[in-house]
Amino acid sequence: MRSVSTRALVPLLAGALLLSAAACSASAPAADPGSVTITFSSYNYGTQGSAGTGTQALLDRFAELHPEITVEPQSVPVADVLTSARAATAAGEPPDVVQLGYSKLAEGLETLPVQPLDELAGDGWDAHVSGIVPGPVATGTRDGSTYALPYTISIPTVLYNADLFEQAGLDPDQPPATIEEVRTAATAIVGTGAEGVYFAMADPGKSDYLTQSVMNSAGGGVLDAGGTITLDSPASVEGIRQIQSLTTDGLQPAVAVDDAMAAFTTGDLGMLVISTAVLGTVQDAAEGNFELRTTAFPGFGSAPAAPTHSGAALVSLSEDEARQRAAWELISFLTSEEGYQLIATEIGYLPLRQSVVEGELAGWLEENPLLVPTIEQLDQMQAYQSFPGPRSNQATQLLQDEAVEPVVLRGADPQSSLTSTANRIRELVGAP
């Protein structure tokens, strides 16, 4: 029996190999001069709601401007963007343009065949980039070349329930501006029987944008300017400790982000500190339940707030020259004034060119005031910090799972948790 089954397997293996060889040699696409088709892997495309329709609007407008370029969009679940892009790359068919979240960008830059956008753009590069908010552009720059441009960007903001503010004897027109004022307001709201405040630190997508915002605002940060890991520095630890004390003092419910969002929309939670990305969803779910307002991310102590952005950048993985050119056309349109304006009005992400804010968007913002506090804070926005090397995303997840969540939600000791996690991350990424 043993010999038979082995004998059966051998021709099988041979057959599989033969087939694969045949398939490889058969896949040489014929080039049609003049027109080109590129793939665009996007976690917004095809989704239900404004992000999906907004992305479609962007692509429709691009098709009008560039009839010679066909964009084949691929809808990717937001949790699997990197999985999908890396698998496609391994299979030899990387998407031409990828919408890649910032918490995964550094790893993407290390491990995907990203193309230098400044080289693809050529002479027009400086003029194109000059008007874009510089922080997130810097995050996409390595060794003097820019590989990623900011696309759908959001920053943390404070959503609050104006009705609960009034019930608690607070003035909804004077929302808290510092973490101390957040505490005071939360204490008053808890007095009414509702929950006080919730910082969405333990992000289910395992991004650390809010962790970074808190650490930065408290005068620390996950990394310093020289790339040294400082998430266990006294200032960083103090920032996290302040958020923890909200929980231990009963001002912040120790629940998951989804649970807190649910409680906020039913009017059971006074303040929710979270990315502006979810504004539309929260607005829909809170519709008619209470008056929803927003205010800027709070400062810690006397220093101004320093919120870190989250969201996604665009990178190009094209290897073929014609497709590289077409990919740049798409990226440059999406990051143009018109692109950012559509992104802001149709999807609700931030307009990343000051010229857009001052120009055509001004009227729209008057009707949609929830984004205004954030846009006013845009010049305080910090670039997203990534741990170095190909294991950067793993390090971020370690920080979130092993330190932030247990400290903020379950009362683990901030100093010892952050120190031991920082040491594990140092070993993992090989940085000081």
């Binding site: 089954s5 599989a16 809808s75 679940p77 937001v78 699997d80 829909d284 999807i347």
Partner: protein, 280 residues
Amino acid sequence: MAGRELLPDGAGRARVGGLLWHLALCGAVVSLLFAVVWALLSSFRPTSRIYGLTPSWPTLEHYTRVLAEWPVATLVGNTFVMASAVAVGQVVIGCLAAFALVHLTPRARRPVLALLTVSLAIPPQALIIPQYLMATRLGWLNTEAGLIVPQLGSSALAVLVLVQHVRAMPVSAAQAARLEGALPREVLWYVVLPALRPAIAAVAVLVFITTWNEYLWPLLITPRTEDTTVQIGLSQFVTAEGTDYGGLLAASTLTSLPILLVYLVAARRITDAFMQAGAR
């Protein structure tokens, strides 16, 4: 159902027993279906009432939105083709193999079953990388072959269950057929398969549903949106901008209807055999 009970009971005891029987099954239904019913009820709640317990009038807003904006037909079509092909494939492979292992090559049974059991224990999450690289080298990206053929490899469960049923079958008729000089395929077709119908139906339903719910494989092998399956489509409600729970639940409800259909067809096979046996 009077007179049909197989278990002996006097008239009075039967009523008590019947009450207990209903109580036990109702209890099971309530506890096992609670979350499903909650999902169904929530799919009729308006977005502003989707969380929490505040009562609200039912609405069809999520269903109309999903039907208008979500490619239900394409996704269900793709998934139906994939799941039924894999179910049929695994059942055919399983019946042939089970018949062979019990009646034709019994000495191969233990080693082959051992190989299959071990193959169940292998974490599929790790095999997917080599499987994906093989399938893409075959040019199967965005193809039905790519969706279907590699999933036939997971036939172990089907074979194990079918082997067990073939072994449990009374062999009289098979032997009679053999004495009359029937060929193996005639024994399989006229004797074994008819008796195996309930098991085949059960296995087909299980494989169909398991394949229908597969997530990682279709995600990787069909990046093109119009080729992909229901589970990937459902993830379009879980976005970076928050989750559209109403849409997700409505879409889940709609896309379980084809499974209900498959189950009802198959269940008839299972219970028919059952009724015949009972009436005998």
